[in-house]
């Protein structure tokens, strides 16, 4: 009788192993073998990518740390299949807050980082964790609020004056999540010489842009949003654009390779291929055209190769 029982347990164990294998199946790094193409020289250890290197199918997988707003815009859903088709690389797009994305780069938990908080990025560039950074694109932030506009910022020309007016009347909803948007918001208060503690009715949601917009919408409050998220959700919101335009509200995206000298596990070839891809002319055109038909304006302005100072002119 114990034989039957032991048999059952062995059968159970036998069942588990193939399930384990099946479970792992499509997660193993793309088994695409490295194609020994004639031009592989460009994709291996070339120190600086040339003008427009031909993308070669190097395969493999990589982890891209990026932000939730980049992911939510839907841009990566268009770009990643393009990238996979061109290079055979399977990209695991991990969308977290900017702070978390930069930390992932600092610890070597990602191979490439795509973020939009230049002031937050700087320490990681200086420390050598993020290298070979390239300017990719930009869009802008806008101040949105209730149509009643109690702080009367609509029509104001000076950003600091607008921030001061909001601080006086409130309420203001902040993301409070160390994201690029949050970092930009804090910089705006600072530029206007305002302490966030003195902003009337300022609350932090600790969540993404849409969640924050929903809170601001329900509470008839002001908030700082990126234009893309606002436009995509305008139909569900009563908030209106009340202030836009100045250079201080630019939202600039950079892509970086995580330094393999500091973090040995980094997949350098794949990360470099990704950076090259993001600034390649075809990609840049795709970025510029993204959802242009839906909104009558570009959600992102493609900037590869431009000088940082010339953006937004």
């Amino acid at each position: 009788m114990t034989n039957r029982l032991s048999l059952l347990l062995i059968a159970l164990a036998a069942l588990l192993f193939p399930l384990l294998a099946a479970c792992g199946g499509d997660d193993s790094p793309a088994a695409t073998p490295t194609k020994a193409a004639g031009t592989t020289a460009a994709s291996t250890e070339a120190p600086k990518p040339t003008a427009t290197p031909e993308p070669t199918k190097i395969g493999g997988s990589m982890i891209l740390a990026t932000t939730t707003s980049t992911q939510d815009s839907g841009l990566l859903d268009v770009l990643m299949p393009m990238f996979q088709k061109q290079t055979g690389i399977d990209v695991k797009v991990i969308a977290v807050g900017t702070g978390a994305a930069l930390q992932m780069g600092a610890k070597g938990d990602a191979d490439a980082v795509l973020v939009h908080a230049p002031t937050s990025e700087k320490p990681f560039v200086d420390s050598g964790d993020l290298i070979e950074g390239k300017l990719v694109m930009h869009n802008d932030f806008i101040l949105v609020g209730p149509s009643s506009d109690p702080a009367k910022i609509k029509g104001l020309k000076d950003l600091n004056a607008a921030m001061t007016a909001i601080a006086a009347t409130g309420p203001f909803i902040s993301r409070g999540d160390a994201s690029g948007t949050n970092t930009a918001e804090l910089a705006l208060w600072k530029a206007a010489n305002l302490d966030i503690k003195n902003v009337k009715g300022r609350e932090e949601t600790g969540q993404g842009m849409l969640a924050t917009l929903n809170v601001a919408d329900q509470k008839n409050a002001y908030t700082l949003s990126d234009r893309a998220t606002y436009l995509a959700n305008k139909k569900n919101l009563k908030l209106e654009i009340l202030f836009e335009g100045p250079k201080a509200l630019l939202n600039i995206y950079h892509v970086y390779v995580v330094n393999p000298a500091k973090h040995p596990g980094v997949k350098l070839a794949q990360a470099r291929a990704f950076v090259s891809f993001m600034v390649a002319p075809e990609t840049q055109k795709t970025i510029a055209d993204f959802k242009k038909a839906d909104y009558g304006q570009s959600l992102f302005i493609a900037d590869a190769g431009k000088s940082e100072d010339s953006i937004g002119n």
Partner: protein
Amino acid sequence: MEQLWSGFVEALRLIANRDSELWDVTARTILVSGFATLLAMVIGVPVGYVLARGRFQGRTVVLGVVNTGMGLPPVVVGLFVWLMLVRSGPFGGFELIYTKRAMVIAQFLIAGPMVVGFTSAAVQALPEELPDLLAVLGAGRLRTLWILCREAHLGLLSAIMAGFGAVVSEVGASMTVGGNLQQSTRVLTTAIVTETGRGNNDRAIALGIILLVMAFLVNLLLTAVQQRTVRARGG
């Protein structure tokens, strides 16, 4: 209410059109959570049995830890597993992070204590002389375990349902260790978060309804098994 209704309609539409993304996500949910619960059972039931029947120093403390584990916040488990599996972590070399296997590990740690706790309680509720009686009748250790499990099946099936329910509905750990990757690790709960974050409330509600229906069907099946022998005994 209108939103709920349109969500319901969207759910029917998705099912009728055999939406491939929906199918993938649902199948993945059952695979990951089912496998994690199975593992929890295979390891948890014997452990629960040993805890129930064993008499050793510190047994009460261990049981206390297990009972605490039953209430462990899944998001905390997720964070812990993530720290263990990322490249900079102790097990980073295994490249398990952001895979279904990582999700199974996290969900196993969530369901495991539940299975152990419920099993322990169910076995402790059995007549104390029963194992001795079985030994006298000549049953080996494995055979005894099998018979006791059958006797305690009411509690054990509750253990499975509790474990499965806990992991199929959790989102924090799955999101953190799985990464919510569309092709490989997105499950129903993380898909709901994604759709909500994009403002696609209809689709989010539809996914929620499908998750509930799926969980109900699984639990209905298990409950039927649980209750069948009760009726058979005229109980």
